[in-house]
Symmetry: C2
């Protein structure tokens, strides 16, 4: 399959590399000049579970890609949430009526962006439990195991979704065809919508937050806001299950000792966060549906204030 990875950061590099290794015609698309240059010169260099793997995978900026007149069967969207619109605006000329998009971004509301560039029947959504780390331009660390759950947004997309599952399966990406990927996306957004913002604002890891007596009360309030808005979109979240799922992460034997990605983006690297696509998205959707989401609103505002205080870019 001819596959473009739109956004070749850590996770994009992982998925691109594994699809390339299993024989697909993969290209990477990114906007980071040093990253593009390093991959062209030395290949994509991965620490793949302790083994060094070097892969010569073509990489383009969106502008170069248009010149090359490339067309693809599948675009895997893995940009930062706030770069999705820019990316698809830039690469829209490579999208044919047969091109499908698999959106693997965290967060909510990305269909509003993608529908501007791709017919809804050609859109697939998924979530990934794989991990990946970017060590520098052209270098990634890929440890452990994971899986990808995906589904077509519209019934017409089902045939192609199963084809993607077959191709991903050959690449050992452990795909699962989902019967309710939107439920899984909302459920994962609840995890990110609590741990990410709260650990960032409180300057702590997941276990540190979980030890606080107020942790469960805060989490339950935020999850309830997510659930009320999700219900308006036809998703009935099982709140007790989601709350327990989040509480389970506090265990140091689980991911308790980790600092969430938003913490690393903002507190460590002074980068803008994706809060507008998590709690901020619930807040916006809530306003649209006439639902109060004060905890999501306040957490979004606090994270934006912290971005300003740290001069995040």
């Amino acid at each position: 399959m001819k596959i473009a990875i739109a956004g070749a950061g850590a996770m994009g590099s992982r998925i691109g590399l594994m699809l390339h290794q299993s024989g697909n015609d993969v290209i990477l698309i990114d906007r980071w000049p040093e990253h593009i240059e390093a991959i062209r010169e030395h290949g994509l260099v991965a620490d793949f579970n302790g083994e060094e793997v070097v892969a010569k995978i073509p990489i383009y900026s969106p502008e170069e890609l248009i010149e090359s007149q490339t067309q693809v069967d599948l675009i895997v969207a893995l940009t930062k949430a706030n770069q999705l619109d820019d990316m698809f605006h830039a690469i829209q000329s490579i999208i044919t009526e047969k091109t499908h998009v698999l959106c693997l971004l965290n967060g909510l509301g990305h269909e509003d962006v993608l529908e501007k560039y791709v017919p809804k029947k050609n859109i697939l959504f998924g979530i990934t439990m794989w991990t990946a780390g970017l060590d520098g331009p052209g270098k990634v660390t890929l440890l452990g195991n994971g899986e990808i759950e995906l589904e077509n947004l519209e019934p017409e997309g089902e045939t192609f979704a199963h084809e993607v599952v077959r191709v991903f399966d050959e690449a050992n990406l452990n795909p699962v065809y989902s019967r309710n990927v939107r439920y899984s996306i909302w459920r994962k957004a609840c995890v990110n919508g609590t741990l990410n913002g709260l650990c960032t604002i409180l300057d702590c890891n997941i276990a540190g937050f979980g030890e606080q007596p107020v942790a469960n009360e805060i989490v339950e309030t935020i999850v309830a806001e997510f659930a009320t808005v999700a219900a308006e979109e036809g998703i009935q979240l099982d709140q007790p299950e989601v709350n327990e799922h989040i509480a389970a992460t506090y265990d140091p034997a689980n991911i308790g000792l980790h600092y969430p990605s938003m913490y690393q983006d903002l507190i460590k690297n002074h980068r803008l966060t994706e809060i507008d696509y998590i709690n901020g998205a619930v807040w916006r959707k809530g306003q649209k549906y006439g639902i109060q989401t004060p905890y999501c609103a306040f957490l979004t505002q606090l994270v934006h204030a912290k971005e300003g205080l740290l001069g995040a870019k």
Copy 2:
């Protein structure tokens, strides 16, 4: 006048010293052994606008005071909010039917504590704009000018309130007899209920918070919660005026460069905060009246989480 200062920290030392200097029979009550010992040995030592003042003022622990069988005309309450109940429980035997209490604590809801020990007609409330700093056991720095606004809670207390104004005036404490001290208390609580918690959670000074584009939106939401609860208690806060008053503090030429007292308590000194008597009090009152106060609730929870993370005592 025979006056006891219950809680001889920085502000208690200032008011006790100034009342002592103008000829009143003042005693200090405190629970900090090093502070008591230092004042007994060297007197209360103050940097009073650049001049060293040493005052021999009697100081007692509550237990010593009871043994001394002292009785007073006026108790000025200046403990930490969370120590008020303990203090009055410990000194209740010195309170006669003629003893009045002037409560100068920041925050809300202290009448609920005081009414357990003093008839309502003997309670006065006030707010102070004086400042004071505690440099160590027995040592304070007292700079600048201020004033005290006070009022009786019940009509029967008015005569004594005017007597307190006379005595405080002789001590140059710039007292003003208020016709609506409860309004002033709520207005001041709005300032503390925004700047204190927000600068603490965001780890910034007042100007730093004020520079953020979200600052006004957060402040207005919190002030609206205070106002809705205050209205239930018969206080009609002028929200635009309060919002402007808070926004004016952002100016570095005003108090913008200051870190609020809660920041100093928690972030600098790892001490428990008074959040339960500010935003937490509005949250509790809101629950009592059936009013939603989610920003006050969430800010209270975040500050408690931060107390836990920093091991505050």
